[in-house]
């Protein structure tokens, strides 16, 4: 680019130089011609002027791009011209008028014609002024030379610009485009999740290299942040799972507890049998079931005979053990569907589902006998106090009572009668009888 403008500047310099050259040459020729012409003018020898100009026009003038030379007298009349027929006043020639007025050399460009013409004039002075010489020089060959120079300069300029453009393209492609492309591709890979993608390291500390470094740093940060995040999420997930498991366990425990709680509320803590409340509920349930199916059920009220005496003899802990063993004996001789409950103290209640009076008495008898034959180990074989008996009252629904409380009352009445009758007896309600 610089060279290109140098080239064009060179052409301008050259134009100025060539112009000066032509002007200089023109004036040199005029000075040379001034000697013979001044003599001829002084001698008033027009034919001599003609001979001088004719010789000149035939030889040197054409080589020097001189189109015409004229010699004017002091009044501005053309005395001699390289075109011999031009003579006398030339009123249409403004340059002639200016030339005779000028006291020194004159230089002018006449661009009115097809080709620009350089006009020069100088006074003819040898001792004094005798006249004026004018000259017209064609600038065609100078213009041709300039045209050639311009063409060459333009060609040079175009060449230089093209070369510069190519070099610039290569430079930018190498230093900017290529790295930017790499950067873009890497960014694409990163955005596709390939967080370990990196821009290759570049030599030098230019902006692109710095950008690449920053990009890599950013990607590195992104990668470490992402992996940190993933670790956090994983750990949080694990924690949540653990919490859920604990919750499930807690729920399970809670269910068991609740179950236990319900069981506890309905179970006698010593014997593990239904307590009185559970017995009452079970009795109500059985009562409704009997009404639905119209099948009778029976209730046994069992009381341990002389339990106070046993307690006094062996102590309360043994008394409690006796109660536990009795309850186990009852369970052994009853059906699974039958409900055994500790009614209070040394009194038990048994609900025999779908059992009428006679079967109920037989079951009661079986229980009485089992207890009577049982030896309680804490008391020992030889100890008569180790033998325990029970008294049992039997009532059947709906024939003996129409309500649960009535049924319990009837069974209690029968139990009372058994006690009265000597104990170790089964008594059915309303004298339905039993045996000892």
């Amino acid at each position: 680019m610089v060279q290109a403008s140098f080239g064009l500047a060179h052409v301008q310099d050259e134009e100025k130089r060539l112009r000066q050259e032509v002007v200089k040459r023109g004036f040199q020729v005029q000075r040379a011609l001034a000697v013979p012409t001044s003599v001829a003018l002084a001698n008033r020898e027009i034919e001599e002027l003609d001979a001088v100009l004719w010789r000149f026009s035939q030889d040197d003038g054409r080589d020097l791009d001189i189109q015409s030379v004229a010699v004017l007298d002091l009044g501005g009349r053309v005395l001699a011209h390289t075109n011999p027929t031009i003579f006398g006043f030339q009123s249409d020639n403004a340059f002639f008028a200016a030339a005779i007025e000028a006291s020194g050399p004159l230089e002018r460009i006449d661009a009115s014609g097809e080709q620009p013409v350089l006009q020069l004039s100088m006074p003819i002075e040898i001792g004094r002024r005798w006249g004026t010489m004018t000259m017209e020089l064609s600038l065609a060959s100078m213009d041709a030379r300039l045209q050639e120079l311009r063409g060459r300069a333009l060609l040079n300029a175009v060449g230089v610009i093209l070369l510069s453009a190519i070099l610039l393209y290569l430079f930018i492609s190498r230093t900017v485009l290529q790295p930017v492309l790499v950067l873009s591709e890497t960014a694409q890979r990163v955005s596709n999740g390939q967080l370990d993608a990196r821009v290759p390291k570049r030599e030098g500390g230019d902006q692109i290299a710095v950008l690449g470094q920053h990009f890599n740093e950013m990607t590195r940060s992104l990668q470490s942040y992402t992996s940190e995040l993933e670790a956090k999420v994983a750990s949080r997930t694990e924690e949540l799972k653990e919490s859920n498991r604990a919750l499930a366990r807690a729920n399970e425990d809670l269910g068991i507890a609740v179950e236990k709680l319900g069981l506890l509320a309905r179970t006698d803590s010593l014997t593990g049998l239904f307590n009185r409340r559970a017995f009452t509920e079970a009795l109500e349930v059985e009562l409704r079931r009997t009404e639905r199916h119209e099948r009778p059920f029976s209730l046994l009220m069992i009381d341990v005979d002389y339990f106070k005496k046993f307690n006094d003899s062996f102590g309360h802990p043994e008394g409690d053990r006796l109660l536990i063993e009795l309850s186990e004996t009852f369970r052994e001789h009853l059906r699974a569907m039958d409900v055994v409950a500790r009614y209070g103290g040394e009194e038990f209640a048994v609900i025999l589902g779908e059992t009428h009076m006679e079967d109920a008495v037989r079951v009661a008898e079986k229980l009485r006998v089992a207890v009577r034959n049982q030896v309680f180990r804490e008391a020992g074989e030889g100890n008569p106090a180790a033998r325990v008996t029970v008294s049992i009252g039997v009532a059947t629904y709906p024939q003996d009572a129409s309500s649960s409380s009535g049924l319990i009352s009837q069974a209690d009445q029968a139990l009372y009668l058994a006690k009265e009758a000597g104990r170790d007896l089964v008594v059915s309600c309303k004298g339905s009888g039993g045996e000892e």
Binding site: N43, R44, E45, I46, E47, E48, D50, A51, W54, R55, Q58, L79, P84, T85, F87, G88
Partner: protein, 338 residues
């Protein structure tokens, strides 16, 4: 041939041309001068010619012409080994007639006379012309007296005008055509008179016997030098320049004669001491050059314009009775160009 002549002009020393001028270059281009002269001698011998008649146009007083050309004729004759006899034409037309009829062997004729004679005698050959004041052509001027109030050709209408001769190129043909170009008819618009020689025209103008006249550049200088009264002329118009006179050889003369005559003339120039001595009477002639017929084509074009304009070129242009005394002023005639 042309190269040879130019070399001779520059390098030859007059008398002993054979050995001095004949370098290798000359020998390769043309035969040595001795050969040229030998061939000419032989041709003349075969034709039985021992004297060449050299005709001159009377554009100046005959004695002046003779004084100018005689030394040259002697040198040329010596070289060619032949007698040369100078013949003065009484008028331009007279000499032209002698050339056409072959009554002279060699002649120096005005350009216009040559063009005319060539038409009548196609075998006529031009072989040389001369260079004067460094130029192969010369100027024709229309002049008025120094004190005259006439400024342009237009001012000449109705005035008396001095021409030289209808066969004169610078004293009639060219200035007449210049007048025509400027819109002044040389026969109808002015009173044309013919003064036969250029010096008479000059004097007639200076002395006011005519309003204006036409003459050639040599006569201007000659006139200024000749007149002691300080009276001069002023140029009011110029005609195009004219090739100098034609040196011709008559129809039928062997071409070797022309070659030898030209070679002998070429040895004479103001470039040598001998040449300057020979040309001193014709001070402004520098030497001689070889020319061909086409050298005079410019004259033919002007002649055609004259014919188109209907100028009476064949009319007589005899000396004016009143101008018989014109020869009195011929004492200082130096210049030899019509």
């Amino acid at each position: 041939m042309r190269f040879l002549w130019l070399l001779l002009l520059v390098g030859c020393g007059g008398g002993d041309v054979d050995s001095k001028g004949g370098g290798p270059l000359v020998e390769t281009i043309a035969p040595p001068l001795s050969v040229i002269f030998e061939k000419s001698q032989k041709a003349l011998d075969e034709a039985g010619i021992d004297t060449l008649r050299w005709g001159l146009t009377p554009y100046m007083a005959p004695q002046e012409l003779y004084a100018s050309y005689q030394p040259i004729a002697e040198v040329v004759g010596d070289k060619m080994g032949v007698e040369i006899e100078l013949v003065m034409g009484e008028t331009y037309a007279d000499l032209e007639g002698q050339v056409v009829r072959g009554e002279v062997d060699v002649a120096v004729v005005s350009p216009y006379s040559y063009v005319r004679a060539k038409k009548s005698a196609p075998g006529l050959r031009v072989f040389a012309s001369h260079v004067a004041k460094g130029s192969a052509n010369y100027g024709s001027y229309i002049i008025v007296g120094e004190e005259s109030e006439l400024e342009t050709l237009e001012d000449l209408r109705g005035k008396t005008f001095a021409f030289v001769d209808r066969r004169s190129t610078s004293g009639y043909l060219f200035p007449a055509i210049q007048m025509l170009r400027m819109g002044v008819h040389p026969e109808d618009d002015i009173k044309a008179e013919f003064y036969q020689t250029h010096d008479r025209v000059f004097d007639a103008v200076v002395e006011g016997r005519v309003a204006a006249g036409a003459t050639y550049d040599g006569a201007l200088r000659q006139g200024r030098d000749r007149r002691r009264d300080g009276r001069g002329v002023r140029v009011i118009a110029k005609a195009p320049r004219i090739p100098h006179e034609a040196y011709v050889i008559r129809q039928g003369l062997p071409v070797e004669v022309a070659d030898a005559f030209g070679a002998a003339l070429a040895g004479i120039s103001t470039g040598t001491r001998e040449g300057r001595a020979l040309l001193a009477p014709m001070l402004r002639i520098n030497g001689f050059i070889q020319v061909e017929d086409s050298h005079y084509d410019a004259v033919r074009r002007v002649e055609a314009q004259a014919e188109t304009a209907g100028l009476r070129m064949e009319a007589p242009s005899r000396p004016l009775p009143s101008e018989e005394s014109g020869s009195e002023q011929g004492e200082a005639n130096e210049e030899q160009t019509p």
